[in-house]
């Protein structure tokens, strides 16, 4: 029996990894195309049909380029932490339940995910601080300060969801949305969660860490080309995690008529991701102090209000 379950585990690990790569690659292409459309352009068209191979060319080229580690950098931290960051996000996706009993189904999955997710800013801080560049250092500081602004509302808005479902198990949360998804039941909570998630995903208007016009490339300034490929992979995996969380917690996850559950989940994840991309294409960047004020004066009260409303309307 041990071999049987072990075999299944390996199949699951490979299946989810393929899923991650599939989403990352497709989303990378979709993002470039949709931003190009928003800007009256075509985006990549020549490399492969509809430019589908463009990102492959980019990634292979980046990996084949010379890797530079600056003299001032802390070599060990600088060359391992980006990989750790990637490992963290991939591991977090393994913690999520998928339909057809794919993935691990642990009883406190929600807690585990949000605890581990708060390590990401620290890892980014380490990379930025280790590269020995002042722009990266500013970006690293911002990354930690920013997390103060959005972590608390994020967790409070998730708490309302857990309160309603009466469980920390994500599969239970999805199943309790069988009749009505939570986006309808608690719209305030969804808005808070979505905005806090944007900040977590480092997407505009909260892309303070990687602010091209101020900090050139933020914590990636001195990162060599192969590590930039890793950073892109991290970015898209984080995006996958974020859009999966949005669709699992608020959009009803894999529940839906006619189509198989996995397809529904992916469709919802892609919709959430494309909305985030459209926001990226249109808005300007927020300032750090304004973000703090916004987080504490708007998001936090709204999240608390959401919990109170949920408690009064549904739980009692």
């Amino acid at each position: 029996m041990l071999t049987d379950s072990f075999g299944r585990l390996i199949v699951e690990v490979i299946a989810i990894f393929i899923l991650i790569v599939f989403f990352d690659y497709t989303f990378g292409w979709l993002e470039r195309k949709s931003i190009a459309k928003a800007q009256f352009r075509h985006g990549p068209t020549y490399v492969g049909k509809f430019g589908i191979l463009q990102n492959l060319a980019d990634i292979v080229k980046l990996l084949a380029k010379e890797n530079i580690i600056p003299k001032n950098a802390d070599k060990l931290v600088f060359s391992t932490v980006p990989l750790l960051l990637l490992a963290l996000f991939i591991f977090l996706i393994y913690l999520l339940p998928f339909p057809d009993s794919l993935g691990i189904d642990i009883s406190v999955g929600l807690l585990a995910i949000f605890v581990l997710l708060s390590f990401a800013p620290l890892l980014i801080f380490l990379t930025g601080a280790a590269s020995g560049n002042k722009f990266s250092l500013i970006s690293a500081q911002r990354s930690v300060i920013m997390s103060l602004a959005y972590e608390v509302p994020l967790i409070l808005s998730v708490a309302a969801v857990a309160l309603y479902a009466g469980s920390f198990n994500i599969a239970d949360i999805v199943n309790s949305q069988a009749k009505i998804p939570f986006i309808v039941l608690m719209p305030i909570g969804f808005v808070v969660f979505f905005i806090a998630m944007l900040a977590e995903l480092e997407r505009p208007p909260f892309d303070l860490r990687e602010a091209d016009s101020e900090l050139i490339a933020g914590w990636l300034v001195d990162v060599g080309a192969p590590y930039y490929a890793v950073a892109l992979f991290v970015d898209y995996t984080r995006m996958f995690l974020g859009s999966l969380l949005i669709s699992l917690l608020f959009l009803g996850g894999w529940l839906g008529p006619y189509l198989p559950g996995l397809i529904w989940l992916l469709i919802k994840a892609f919709v959430a991701a494309v909305v985030i991309v459209i926001m990226r294409a249109t808005t300007v960047r927020m300032r750090l102090d304004r973000l703090m004020r916004f987080g504490w004066f708007w998001l936090l009260p709204l999240a608390v209000l959401n919990i109170i409303l949920t408690f009064m309307l549904f739980v009692k």
Partner: protein, 184 residues
């Protein structure tokens, strides 16, 4: 007999034996060497293909020609169609440096430094008359007459300023060079 000459001959003999041993392939080993070479060929072909199709220019404008460089990236020409557009501000992650504008004596060391900060393989396009030869500022006391005095240049684009279409053509020429169609 001269000892020295004898020593030399002996050393040459030894070298010959070592060389022939190096080139010797055992019948079983030959299969693996061929396999290794084949994989290496496929890998290098893939890498060359990817390099050819993803030339990222650096976000780096000096003077007038930078205006046309902006136009090159914007919606009329849309350089992203062929994968030329992912302007990165940092030299570490870029492939092509487009020197658009005149290079003064003050800025020359910076240009050189930026070139040295770029990761290999790296390419340079001299865009516009000023970068090619000094152009209209030939007689000025503070201008370098052509950036090829400080860094190696792959493609020259002439004009004052050249149209963005010319830059597109230059990048296609560079693609040919990267893809191995044109000798250096």
């Amino acid at each position: 007999m001269n000892d020295e000459r004898f020593e030399n001959a002996k050393r040459e003999m030894e070298q010959l034996v070592v060389d022939s041993l190096k080139n010797y392939k055992a019948p079983v080993g030959a299969f693996f060497t061929n396999l290794k070479e084949a994989t290496r060929a496929i890998a290098s072909g893939t890498i060359r293909w990817s390099r050819k199709n993803s030339l990222w220019p650096m976000q780096f404008g000096l003077a007038c020609c930078a205006m046309e460089l902006l136009d090159f990236g914007s919606s009329r020409i849309d350089a992203e169609r062929k994968g030329y557009l992912l302007f990165r501000g940092t030299p570490r992650q870029c492939d092509v440096m487009i020197v658009a504008g005149w290079v003064t004596k003050a800025v020359a060391p910076e240009v050189k430094r930026l070139y040295e900060q770029m990761a290999k393989p790296r390419y340079v396009i001299a865009y516009g008359e000023c970068a090619v030869s000094g152009g209209p500022w030939w007689e000025s006391y503070n201008i370098i007459k052509g950036i090829d005095q400080i860094i190696p240049v792959d493609v020259y684009v002439v004009g004052c300023p050249p149209k963005p279409e010319n830059l597109f053509e230059a990048l296609m020429k560079l693609q040919e060079k990267v893809g191995g169609k044109v000798e250096d």
